[in-house]
């Protein structure tokens, strides 16, 4: 039994979706924030991978590539005590309200 991310050879996994889309701004930002945190020594690529793999299987399947990155970065920042879940939620609500 392998974890949700270890899909190679799983029966019924189907072919790989090779369709591409233009990179969106939020995706560039997600990439940039993650890479900067690595370069600053806040976290490592390996921690980032472990955080992605620790997402609940249902959530893992539902999220897109960079959505998983954001979830992992959030999880690690909370784990390391740099931000709290409340601070993140509060800021997200503020941003959402400013756009509605």
């Amino acid at each position: 039994m392998t974890d949700i991310h270890d899909l190679g050879g799983s029966p019924g996994a189907g072919p790989i979706d090779r369709s591409q889309h233009d990179v969106e701004d939020w995706e560039r930002l997600a990439d940039a924030v993650t890479v900067v945190l690595d370069k600053k020594g806040v976290k490592t690529t390996d921690e980032h991978r472990r955080a992605i793999e620790s997402l609940a299987p249902e959530l893992y399947k539902k999220l897109g590539y960079y959505e998983r990155w954001i979830a992992a970065t959030e999880l690690l920042l909370v784990e390391k005590g740099l931000l709290t879940r409340e601070e993140i939620d509060e800021r997200a609500t503020e941003l959402e309200e400013s756009w509605s």
Binding site: M1, D6, T44, D46, E47, R49, R50, E53
Partner: protein, 99 residues
Amino acid sequence: MAAKFEPGDLVLVRADEKTGHVRTPGYVKGKTGRIEELLGEFEDPEILAYGGPRPPKKPLYKVSFHQTDLWKGYAGSTGDALYVDIYEHWLKPAREEAR
């Protein structure tokens, strides 16, 4: 840490269930492959994944597998190979007749 294997050695990938971050794909676990190359020594990513002090370096090998050994009913050429980078702690010596 001195590398335990040399190019040409046959190795068996451990089939153990290991919880947490694992850099060895499930489809090669329990399979026999051949050491192609020592790629170098790197901090163990399976420990690095949990933060804390920097872990010791471990040898990383390029290991080849026959595709026909990996996939039931593989329809391609019998000469097809798959190469996977595997850390030493996942490998055990395998005997020639295991292949």
